[in-house]
């Protein structure tokens, strides 16, 4: 079987000591920032991008992926112990998890979260391994025309990403597209919006922009509302689950995994939506629904499995098509471009070691997280006592070093600073930064492929509909657009995000 030889290749990459090490660092960091409220995986990955330049692509992406799913674990630890969800995806875990902790069952809640997540992670990894190769088979047929249509689909889908108003999401995408046009035009070599600044000839630096708009901006927002966190944690005892517990969580874990895997693949889905949806579902169908809100173990098992499954399967569109479904995946696409890898269907055939290595590392990373999380709970809780006003100057310092080291250029530090202000202003006006980043990443690829396709067809636009692959992608994009704009769906979408 092909899949076994592929997984074997992946295992030989993922289990290299260096990659295990970076995977471990990623999980550890991810858990740490998951524990700290305020700092999310998007901000952390944005800040750490410069560090990954010197690493081989496999190690770099394995580490960044580790941060992402590590954060899902870390977030639930504090949600359960002190009712303070470190991550948006663990908000619902806090409802029943904290009640369990108050009833003296913190250990059982933590174990449920860890085991449910591990199971979900394993299933989602297998799903990723099975789903990817069929998609890769069409890879070589992807020429400029097909890439253009794929990017159109990606941009349309990214509208669904925004949780606020549709109009604002469109505005942000367009803003991102415009930012993406800065620099030397690939086709004619004409400089655009460079104002005779040589540093702008290669465009705005993706890392500097995302560090400003996600990293520094998030710190500014947090500094605005520094509040006292009282940490009063009882000793965690009894990590073992009783036989009755196990019986009660099997079905919710399975349902959570299935729902999370499905929602993760959808653009704009991912971990947060998965956990909310699966909690809502359990609350309706569980035989113990009366206990929900008072410490029902199902209320921990289901959303925790779902958020981890969703986190994992959100890699599917990114790895197989190069379409980022959420901000973290957008950053991963950026990291791949920096490493000289063109994200898209070609990745599986051109970089099999990278692709399969990442898939296997997700499983090994999940295993590490189980081992890491249960014994280190005391440490994580202690970390919460570090005051923010001490933490933040250090983080900003690291950000400046990181931005400078991209090109050894002070200009990029200013770009980062400028975009942190823009990001802060946008967040005050309730504009989401994620669609902006997607527009910024997809825009240049969209334009390049459009013009390249037109060059190849000698100016005949029918090239986009003559290729069946391109045509079907465009039709799909139109369908998605129609769905997003249709009143009933958009109402549902708002409900999903406000719940």
């Amino acid at each position: 079987m092909d899949i076994f030889s592929n997984l074997w290749l992946g295992a030989s990459t993922a289990f290299m000591p260096m990659n295990l090490f970076y995977g471990f660092i990623g999980c550890l960091l991810g858990t740490a920032i998951g524990v700290l409220p305020g700092l999310g995986p998007t901000a952390t990955i944005a800040m750490l991008l410069p560090i990954t330049f010197g690493l081989p692509p496999e190690s770099a992406l394995i580490m960044l992926a580790g941060i992402f799913y590590g954060a899902q674990y870390g977030g639930s630890t504090t949600a359960i112990l002190i009712n303070l969800p470190g991550e948006s995806s663990s908000v619902v875990t806090a409802i029943d998890g904290y009640q369990m902790a108050r009833n003296g069952r913190a250990g059982a809640a933590l174990a449920t979260a860890a085991l449910g997540s591990f199971f979900a992670g394993t299933v989602a990894t297998i799903l990723l391994a099975v789903a990817a190769p069929p998609l890769a088979a069409v890879a070589l047929n992807f020429g400029p025309a097909e890439y253009f249509s794929l990017m159109v689909l990606g941009l349309v889908a990214s509208v669904a990403l925004a949780s606020g108003s549709l109009l604002k999401a469109f505005a942000m995408i367009v803003f991102g597209l415009i930012l993406g046009t800065v620099g030397t035009d690939v086709e004619s070599g004409t400089p655009r919006y460079v104002f005779d600044i040589p540093e702008l000839y290669d465009g705005l630096n993706f890392v500097a922009v995302s560090m400003g708009i996600f990293g520094i901006c998030e710190i500014l927002r947090n500094l605005e509302s520094e509040h006292e966190r009282s940490v009063g944690v009882k000793r965690v005892t009894g990590l073992m689950l009783t036989r009755q517990d196990i019986k009660r969580i099997i079905a919710p874990v399975l349902r959570g995994t299935a729902l999370g895997s499905f929602l993760g693949v959808l653009p704009g889905g991912g971990a947060m939506l998965a956990s909310f949806a699966s909690y809502a579902m359990e609350k309706r169908i569980s035989p113990n629904r009366a206990e929900f809100g008072k410490g029902a173990i199902e209320g921990v098992a289901a959303p925790e499995s779902a958020n981890n499954a969703g986190a994992q399967t959100s890699f599917i569109p990114m790895l197989t098509l190069g379409i980022p479904g959420n901000p973290v995946m957008a950053l991963m696409v950026g990291a791949m471009i920096i490493q000289g890898i063109t994200p898209g269907p070609n990745v599986i055939s051109d970089e099999p070691a990278l692709f399969w290595g990442m898939i296997v590392s997700m499983w090994s990373g999940n295993l590490m997280l189980v081992i890491l999380n249960l014994p280190l709970i005391g440490l994580w809780v202690k970390m919460l006592t570090v005051p923010y006003h001490l933490l933040f100057p250090a983080i900003i310092g690291f950000c400046c070093i990181g931005a400078y080291s991209i090109n050894n250029s002070v200009f990029d530090v200013f770009v980062m600073a400028g975009f942190s202000v823009i990001g802060f202003a946008l967040s005050k006006m309730r504009f989401e930064p994620a669609p902006l980043l997607l527009g910024f990443i997809l825009g240049p690829m969209l334009e390049e492929n459009l013009r390249r396709a037109m060059l190849i067809s000698q100016g005949d636009p029918s090239i986009f509909v003559r290729s069946p692959l391109s045509l079907s992608l465009l039709i799909f994009a139109v369908v998605v657009l129609a769905l997003v704009l249709s009143p009933s769906i958009s109402r549902k979408r708002e409900e999903a995000f406000t719940e």
């Binding site: 330049f53 010197g54 070589l140 047929n141 992807f142 020429g143 400029p144 030397t184 690939v186 086709e187 004619s188 070599g189 004409t190 400089p191 005779d196 040589p198 540093e199 000839y201 290669d202 000289g340 063109t342 070609n346 051109d350 090109n407 050894n408 250029s409 390049e448 390249r452 060059l455 190849i456 000698q458």
Partner: protein
Amino acid sequence: MKLKRFMTIAAAATAICVVGLQPSHAQDYPTKTVTVVVPFAAGGNTDTFGRLVAEELDKRLGQRFIVENKPGAGGNIGLGDLARSKPDGYTIGMGTVSSNAINQTLYKTLPYDKEKGFAPISLIASLPNVLVVNPDKIKANNVEELIAFLKTEPGKHTYASSGVGTSIHLAGELLATKAGVKITHVPYKGSSQAILDVVAGHVDMMFDNIPTAAQQVKAGKVKALAVTSLGKADLLPDVPTMANTIPGFEATSWHGLFAPPGTPPEIVEKLSKEVQAIIAEPAMQEKLKAMGVTPVGNTSAEFQAFIDKETAKWADVIKAANVPLQ
């Protein structure tokens, strides 16, 4: 009065000292760390050559030679930095065919004085390109057949490049002007994506750097018609040269070491001798040849003459092909 006289004497003495010290200063060179500016990102060809040579200079001259990458704007940012640094031999830098022979014509403004240029130390290595075609799209087994084929279908065929104004792009323009054929240029960002589209048949042909293209040729994905160096290339010994069909056709990507304008000739001379000796070492020769590269190593005057010839050649191509200036 006394003070003024003292000042005059002191100034004169200082002047004598400075003048007297200068030659010995060059002999002592280097007495502190030397920065080697690489105007391209770490990991690329220019960076690799820069690091290889810096490491050996380090060993031979007993001072640290530290590579600093200053990428951006086709090498112009790093070279601007180099031009502005003190011409004392403690900042030197790498330059390439694009940054030191093509950009001069291609860019309307450069962040340094075009006339003053740089003090060339030595050419390090040159990389031939190879003309590869997609066998399903181009029915030709050699350059004559290719030219004949292109003439039957003018403007219908495309060639890929790693970007506007790169040596890969201009090699295509050189073919078009010298052979009198009409082909459409399809630029990419970097050559890896471009060669993939030639392999898949989205674009018909391309001049590509030999190390990457040779793999695709050996895998039988594309057909190699000719190399762009005057002599045959070690990595593809069976492939004839372009000059075989079009006399004088040469389009290589070369990489050399430069000092800022006004650097004392003694220092440039000293560095040039060392670089030539480094490149002549058998171990270095082997290392470079394994990369598909032709090691060179020449004197400052030879390098300058080469640059002048290259600059004039590419200026003609850019003008003849009407490449828009940046």
